[in-house]
């Protein structure tokens, strides 16, 4: 299996505004290593502040780590110049919880989809239109919305459009940072199924994007991924197959996530107060 993206020993610190003299640099990533193979499906789970979103930003070359290396197809992304990054970024796409808010509100669905091709000076108008319609269909959106503005769509439709837009330039890696979390469960299920279809093993590994799903929802991550990475305090504390993580969790953070994912258990009345 071809290795697309390797992050080794990433460290990233943020310096919050100084408050009452406290010199508290926050170490968001503290020696994190992950490897993304072609067509892989990886779930990165953890509570708020575990560093999973910072990892997403570093993998997508939006943030530069303070130390460590990120290699994409054997090029070290921490060393390359900005002009070269411009050629790499389209191959690693990032979808946020609220990506749709970044759409130009005056743009039609078609313009949202075709813009990347126009910016990259690829395809003529007819080809763009045709491929755009294909992508809409792939994302499970009705074809008749092509001329509507993105703001006319429902929340679920907008998030599907965000995923369709991320697929326009046929990325090798699709990173989803809590991209499902704000949606109704019925809509989350539709988008999860879309991700499963996109990454289905019947599609040749070179043609399907690798998926990195970042979430606090262990149940959803277990459904979609082949490998689960659990983060806490900027470190990876446990990793393994979904079966192993769910049935034989070793780290306390994993067990805590598991307990919360299953739902509030009946016996919590006896638990000590928070």
């Amino acid at each position: 299996m071809e290795v697309l993206l390797i992050a080794e020993n990433l460290v990233k610190e943020y310096a919050p505004r100084r408050l009452r003299g406290a010199d508290a640099r926050v170490r968001a990533l503290d020696g994190v290593s992950v490897e993304v193979q072609a067509g892989a499906r990886i779930g990165i789970v953890g509570a708020s502040g575990s560093g999973k979103s910072t990892l997403a930003l570093c993998l997508a070359c939006v943030e530069k780590p303070d130390s460590g290396s990120i290699r994409f197809l054997n090029r070290d992304l921490t060393q390359v110049v900005e002009s070269e990054l411009r050629g790499i970024r389209p191959q690693i796409q990032l979808v946020f919880q609220d990506s749709a808010s970044a759409f130009n509100p005056k743009f039609t669905v078609g313009e949202v989809l075709e813009e990347p091709w126009i910016l990259q000076r690829k395809l003529n108008a007819a080809e763009r239109r045709e491929r755009g319609a294909d992508l809409l269909q792939q994302a499970g959106l009705p074809g008749n919305i092509y001329g509507r503005t993105a703001s006319d769509l429902s929340g679920g439709q907008r998030q599907r459009l965000a995923i369709a837009r991320a697929l326009v330039l046929q990325p090798k890696v699709l990173i989803l940072d809590e991209a499902l979390s704000a949606l109704d469960y019925s809509v989350q299920a539709q988008i999860a199924n879309l991700l499963l279809d996109l990454s289905d093993k019947t599609v040749p590994a070179t043609e399907r994007p690798a998926i990195v799903l970042i979430s606090h929802d262990l149940a959803m991550a277990a459904r979609i991924s082949d490998e689960i990475v659990v983060m806490q305090g900027g470190r990876i504390v446990e990793r393994g197959s979904p079966e192993k993580i769910v049935h034989e969790p070793e780290h306390a953070a994993t067990r805590e996530l598991l307990a919360c994912t299953i739902g509030v258990s009946a016996e919590f009345n006896q638990r000590p107060a928070v």
């Binding site: 408050l19 509570a47 708020s48 502040g49 429902s154 929340g155 704000a182 109704d184 469960y185 019925s186 809509v187 989350q188 299920a189 539709q190 999860a192 199924n193 499963l196 289905d200 093993k201 606090h216 929802d217 262990l218 149940a219 959803m220 277990a222 459904r223 979609i224 991924s225 082949d226 979904p242 079966e243 769910v246 049935h247 805590e256 996530l257 598991l258 307990a259 919360c260 994912t261 299953i262 739902g263 509030v264 258990s265 009946a266 016996e267 919590f268 009345n269 638990r271 107060a273 928070v274």
Partner: protein, 327 residues
């Protein structure tokens, strides 16, 4: 059990500036007993937040109440004057939202912001207010109470800010707390801490809670009763355990299924597609002749598109709006 809140046949519509009325709530009935926890589940646009806002008579300006009453311990809140309503809100019934941070003053210590609520409702000296707030923070934050009291909102996490919002809401000892998606912006660990805090307040202070959520699993082991909403209507109501375990309305069943769980030992169904509800949510600006869920229902019958089902009673005191249970 003594009745606390009685929402009777409540209908609400919104009149957006572009025209085309939205029927957000259609003849909703809801009862909450003293100290009872009722959960309302449903998808975006089902009318669950409108129901929450109506309980405090807090509809947006384009919202209009077409019919019905919201009776809290014998008083219809919809008939009160503005100043009377302001006395009721906070002291008898309170509301918390999804985003606690936006309601907090960024330049004021949170302890003082909780005391401010007490001052607005009058009746206590400065020292008494401080004592009341300290005791409440002890209950909510335990050993951290002292530090939290002197913190500014930005120094707190999302979960801590939500607890401050809860403290503000209950500091005047209301009988009912309406919580509209209080955990939607929080991660699953913090989410559970908030739910456990609400349960503790119910247990120790007899607080009744109306929890609006799209996460049905939060209600397990928490709510006494569950109300399911679809397209502005209550489509199922009943004992919480029963609704979660054996949902009767086809919509409730579909809604609960589209959530992957990790419950059973065999339940990591890796890469298996998740059941979805076919079709799109209905447009609340048009009212259909038949059942609102008919076009998406896997069990539809001929009668379903002919007329609207009423809420039929089922065994053990629940109701279901489906012709499978009456005609």
């Amino acid at each position: 059990m003594e009745l606390l809140l009685d929402v009777q046949n409540l209908s609400v519509r919104y009149r957006p500036p572009g025209g085309g009325d939205v029927f957000a709530l259609q003849g909703a009935n809801l009862q909450i007993a003293l100290g009872q926890i009722v959960g309302v589940i449903g998808e975006s646009g089902s009318g669950k937040s409108t129901l929450a806002a109506s309980v405090l008579a807090l509809l947006p300006v384009n919202g209009r109440i077409d019919a019905g009453a919201v009776v809290l311990q014998g008083t219809n809140l919809l008939e009160l004057e503005r100043d009377e309503l302001e006395r009721v809100r906070g002291s008898k019934v309170s509301l918390i939202f999804q985003e606690p941070g936006v309601a907090l003053h960024p330049m004021m210590r949170v302890g003082a912001q909780i005391e401010e609520v007490l001052r607005a409702h009058g009746g206590q000296s400065k020292g008494e207010r401080r004592k009341t707030v300290r005791e409440l923070l002890d209950l909510i934050f335990g050993g951290e109470a002292e530090r939290i009291y002197f913190s500014y909102p930005h120094q707190l996490s999302g979960g801590q800010r939500q607890r401050i919002a809860i403290a503000q809401a209950i500091v005047c000892k209301p009988k009912l707390l309406v919580a509209d998606e209080p955990t939607a912006s929080l991660d699953s660990v913090t989410r559970r801490e908030i739910i456990e805090l609400l349960k503790k307040l119910q247990r120790e202070r007899g607080l009744a809670i109306l929890l609006i959520t799209h996460s049905a699993e939060l209600l397990e082991g928490f709510a006494d009763r569950i109300v399911v909403m679809y397209a502005g209507q209550i489509v199922e109501e009943g004992d919480a355990k029963r609704v979660l375990k054996t949902p009767r309305h086809p919509y409730t069943e579909a809604l609960l299924k589209c959530r992957p769980t990790l419950r059973g030992s065999e339940d990591v169904r890796k890469h298996e597609r998740i059941p979805v509800i076919a079709g799109d949510a209905p447009d609340s600006s048009a009212r259909s002749k038949g059942c609102a869920f008919e076009s998406r229902c896997a069990e539809r019958m001929k009668i379903c598109c002919e007329r609207e089902p009423e809420l039929f009673e089922i065994e053990n005191g629940g109701t279901v709006r489906c012709f499978k249970f009456g005609s």
